[in-house]
Symmetry: C2
Subunit: 362 residues, 2 copies
């Protein structure tokens, strides 16, 4: 058990350092968010606990992988921003006067835990697929105990997530989470199928990341809003917000794999090209290069050239800038989904998170 009032380091949301410099009016919301994420981390710990020491040790190792907690953050903020009766009332918590009731419910905590656990399960299996050695500055499970244990531990997390979701007694949530699991696995399979396919077009790329990355972020926003009693039109809009945000997030991930600082990102980088995964900047570059330039880049890709050399080639066709612009456009579309919501600090923070996707360095 964590001592009360001391949320673990992992419970700070992704953009906290940046947002701490923003208006003071968001400070109470930030405190509420940190408290809610500590609750999510605790729910995950309880849901994964095993009476078998060999399993419990692995589970505790995986808890180090919590990092940005972006999906639970979106569950909580969507829940706060879409509460139909009084969006503002949760946001004065911590100010003088009687403590108001928060619109957050235990269902928000559970859904936050479920989406994070599904995400952790996919991270563990991704690391097996990518033969990665490092994740959030800790050794990957596959590196630590072998691929077999990593496969089984991922399955354990998936099963725990579904059991926890079942405990909500909300068939809609269970079906949507199962469906999202299918969608993201299908996205991974599509990616594997297209490994080393240097003719991959942008349409297929977007179909792929829509499934692989955006789907879980979209369902986080959708179920967070739904748990606050938002109507179908509102939670469908939040799903669109999450989907656009998730796609922009993946493009930024592509850019970080190419040019990010491994010590900041906290995982092995430069793996995309090495594993034959085509990213948006590479696809754009191959499509807009002269045949000669294209040939040179293909040689580079097949020979596993250092990522700095690849990045240099991509700059010659403005492909990195192009990808940034695509991500910017998606962030604008995401923000537009928030406009019809009643103004609130939660809505403001969702908008700030969308912007921060473009500038994140980890």
């Amino acid at each position: 058990m964590l001592p009360l009032g001391q949320p673990p380091a992992c419970a700070y949301p992704l953009f906290m350092p940046r947002l701490l410099d923003t208006p003071d009016e968001l400070a109470p919301l930030q405190r509420e968010l940190v408290g809610a994420l500590a609750g999510v981390a605790e729910r995950i710990k309880e849901a994964l606990a095993s009476d078998m020491p060999a399993v419990q040790r692995l589970v505790e190792h995986v808890e180090q992988y919590h990092g940005k907690m972006i999906r639970p953050t979106l569950v909580i903020l969507s829940g706060l921003a879409c509460h139909p009766s009084d969006v503002a009332k949760g946001q004065t918590a911590g100010l003088a006067g009687p403590a108001p009731l928060s619109p957050l419910t235990p269902a928000h905590t559970t859904i936050g835990a479920v989406v994070e656990m599904v995400h952790l399960a996919t991270l563990i299996h991704d690391d097996v697929l990518d033969e990665a050695d490092e994740r959030r500055r800790a050794l990957t499970v596959n590196r630590l105990t072998g691929n077999e244990a990593a496969v089984m531990l991922g399955d354990y997390l998936f099963s725990s997530a579904y059991r926890l979701c079942g405990q909500l007694g909300d068939a809609h949530a269970t079906v949507r989470i199962g469906q999202t699991g299918m969608t993201l696995c299908a996205g991974e399979l599509l990616q594997l199928h297209n490994r080393g396919n240097f003719s991959l077009d942008q349409r297929t790329y977007f179909e792929l990341i829509d499934r692989k990355t955006a789907s879980l972020i979209a369902v986080s926003c959708e179920l967070g809003a739904r748990a606050s009693g938002a109507d179908a039109e509102v939670y469908a809009r939040m799903a669109r917000f999450g989907s656009k945000l998730g796609t922009a997030f993946q493009i930024q991930d592509d850019l970080l794999d190419l040019g990010g600082d491994q010590s900041l990102v906290g995982k092995s980088l430069g793996k995309d090209a090495e594993k034959g995964k085509l990213t948006l900047p590479v696809i754009h570059h191959l499509q807009s290069s002269t045949p000669e330039r294209r040939g040179k880049t293909l040689t580079m890709l097949s020979e596993g050239a250092p990522r700095a050399l690849l990045a240099e080639a991509l700059r010659s066709t403005d492909s990195i800038e192009h990808s940034r612009r695509v991500a910017e456009g998606l962030v604008q579309e995401a923000r537009a989904q928030l406009e019809p919501l009643r103004p609130s600090h939660a809505r403001q923070m969702l908008g700030a998170i969308a912007e921060a996707v473009l500038t994140r360095a980890h």
Copy 2:
């Protein structure tokens, strides 16, 4: 779509050939079972269908892995044997006279599909763990398309199973299935943790197979009975029946890995010793050998001696016979669980299935 009235080859239950030689009175039940299993196979096909050709091709390959369909068979038969009002009425189907109403419901079909899909998912991941090449006379997914696709396809099946289960709108079933998923993964992790542990005792062995194998068979019987409206005492008894049956089933699997005919079993054999998995005959042998004999067997295990040589050593301590006796005892305990049930053909067939575990060659 399968043509109506023509269940696929895979829909025949494990013990059909043997049971076909048993009393004529079971023939109508057999016909009902074959029809119900065809419904389960169809439900699985629908639940796994993907609009992405790359995924659909893999799904169709996995459908070849249906073999014994033992878990859906137990769902159906437990449902028939535990129907509280009139167990017999489903068993005259196909005889002259007006067709009676079957106590089977769409929930039995769905639960049968869910447990089979969870089982198929674990088979796919087991094959990755075991580096197996062959499964039900077809190439394993890992052999066919690599470990990465096999990991993701297993995840896709898990997610599909949970989505389908969620569609039942029965939180108890969803939670039990998620919990069983956790239990069986924990069992696999315990097995990996004990790989090559030549001091493994029988207590840990039973703890391990209770989780790894018996848990899913137990929940199949439990949820099948529960879907017929059986009360808690009855479905808890059916869970015990399944648990004992499942444990006996695993011991027989150990014996087949050691002495079975690969062409009959339809999967790579002799993998247990090779992968450092201790089985009941080996554990018994190591515990009851002289130090000299024990040393020789340990050398054999570490050098990966042919399974025929290992089997010969085990016979010297009567360890194969000992394991058979343990399995026989478990089958008797399983059958005893059925005694308080009202007499019915379904109860009779459940008893026959328990007996057949001891004689199965595949």
